[in-house]
C-alpha cells in the first residue's frame, strides 16, 4: 500500500476492527478507511502524504460559499476545495419552487397558486 507516489487514501476491509487499526496505522496515506473507501469529510483536512506532502488542502465546509472563501483566504490557503465547488445550485429547484409558491399562495393577487390536494405528496411506494 505504501508504494504509491501520492499516498492520498487507503482502505482495508475486514470484520476485525483491531486488525484494521493495526494495519492502517502502518499505511502512509493522508486518509485511511475501514470498510469503506470514499467518505471524504468536509470537516477534516484532506491531504496526501507523499508527493504532495507539503501542499495540504483544506476542504472547507460552510453553508455560505462566500464565507467559506473568506475562511480559506484568511488561512492563507493556496488550494482549498469547497464543498460547493461543483454545485451549480444550492438546493433542489423543485422543492424551492414549491416552497416559493406556497409562500405566495396566501397572498392576494393573480399569481397565487392553488392550495389543492394535488400538493399533497402521493403515497405510491417505490417499485
Amino acid at each position: 500500500m505504501n508504494d504509491t507516489r501520492y499516498g492520498l487514501t487507503a482502505g482495508v476491509y475486514t470484520k476485525d476492527e483491531a486488525k484494521a487499526r493495526e494495519l492502517l496505522a502502518r499505511v502512509n496515506a493522508g486518509s485511511v478507511y475501514w470498510n469503506c473507501c470514499d467518505r471524504v469529510s468536509p470537516r477534516l483536512p484532506w491531504s496526501g502524504m507523499a508527493i504532495r506532502r507539503r501542499s495540504h488542502a483544506l476542504r472547507v465546509w460552510h453553508p455560505d460559499l462566500h464565507a467559506a472563501e473568506g475562511v480559506a483566504s484568511s488561512l492563507g490557503l493556496k488550494l482549498a476545495l469547497f464543498d460547493l465547488d461543483y454545485t451549480l445550485l444550492v438546493g433542489d429547484s423543485d422543492a424551492l419552487w414549491c416552497e416559493f409558491c406556497s409562500s405566495k399562495a396566501f397572498s392576494t393577487g393573480k399569481n397565487s397558486v392553488h392550495a389543492t390536494p394535488r400538493w399533497t405528496p402521493p403515497t405510491a411506494p417505490a417499485p
Binding site: L65, L84, L88, D94, L96, F100, P121, P122, A124, A126
Partner: protein
C-alpha cells in the same frame, strides 16, 4: 416529497408528476411573473460564484455545456440562463389543448435511466459524440450518468 423520494418510498414517476402538477391549469405566460420573481429571489442567490466560474471556464474553452436536470423545463431554463448555459435537457411538461400546463410530464422523464437516454438522444440529434464528458452538479453520485460518461 424530496425526502420521501430519496428514501425510496416514492417512484420516479410520482416524484416527477408531483412537481410538474404544481404548474397545472395555467399557461407559461400566466406563470411568468411568478417565475421571474422565483428566479430573482430564490435561484440567483443560490448559484455559487464558483459555479459561474466553472461554467464560464468550460464555455471559454469551447466545450459543449449542457444542463441536464430532473426538474421540469419551465423551472430549469431560467436557472440555465443565469449560468449562461444555452442547452437544457429537462423533464418536459405536457400542455393541454388551450396551451396551459396539464400538470403531467411528457416523454421520457429526465431522471435516473431516463437521464442517460435523453442525453444520448440529444447528442445523437446533433451528431455529437460523447467522447469526453465531464459531469458537474448536485448529482455527483448519479452512477448511471457517470457510467455513461466514462464509456
Amino acid at each position: 416529497m424530496d425526502t420521501a423520494y430519496r428514501a425510496g418510498t416514492v417512484s420516479a414517476q410520482a416524484f416527477s408528476e408531483f412537481y410538474v402538477s404544481t404548474l397545472a391549469d395555467r399557461s407559461a405566460e400566466e406563470w411568468e411573473p411568478l417565475r421571474q420573481a422565483f428566479v430573482h429571489d430564490v435561484i440567483a442567490p443560490r448559484i455559487p460564484r464558483a459555479a459561474r466560474r466553472l461554467v464560464r471556464s468550460h464555455l471559454v474553452a469551447g466545450d459543449l455545456v449542457v444542463l441536464t436536470t430532473a426538474t421540469n423545463r419551465f423551472i430549469a431554463e431560467p436557472t440555465a440562463a443565469r449560468l449562461s448555459i444555452k442547452n437544457v435537457i429537462a423533464t418536459e411538461c405536457e400542455l393541454d389543448a388551450f396551451g396551459r400546463f396539464s400538470g403531467r410530464p411528457s416523454g421520457t422523464l429526465n431522471m435516473r435511466e431516463g437521464k442517460v437516454t435523453r442525453l444520448h438522444d440529444w447528442l445523437a440529434e446533433r451528431g455529437a459524440g460523447a467522447r469526453r464528458l465531464r459531469q458537474h452538479g448536485l448529482q455527483r453520485f448519479d452512477q448511471r450518468l457517470a457510467a455513461f460518461c466514462v464509456r
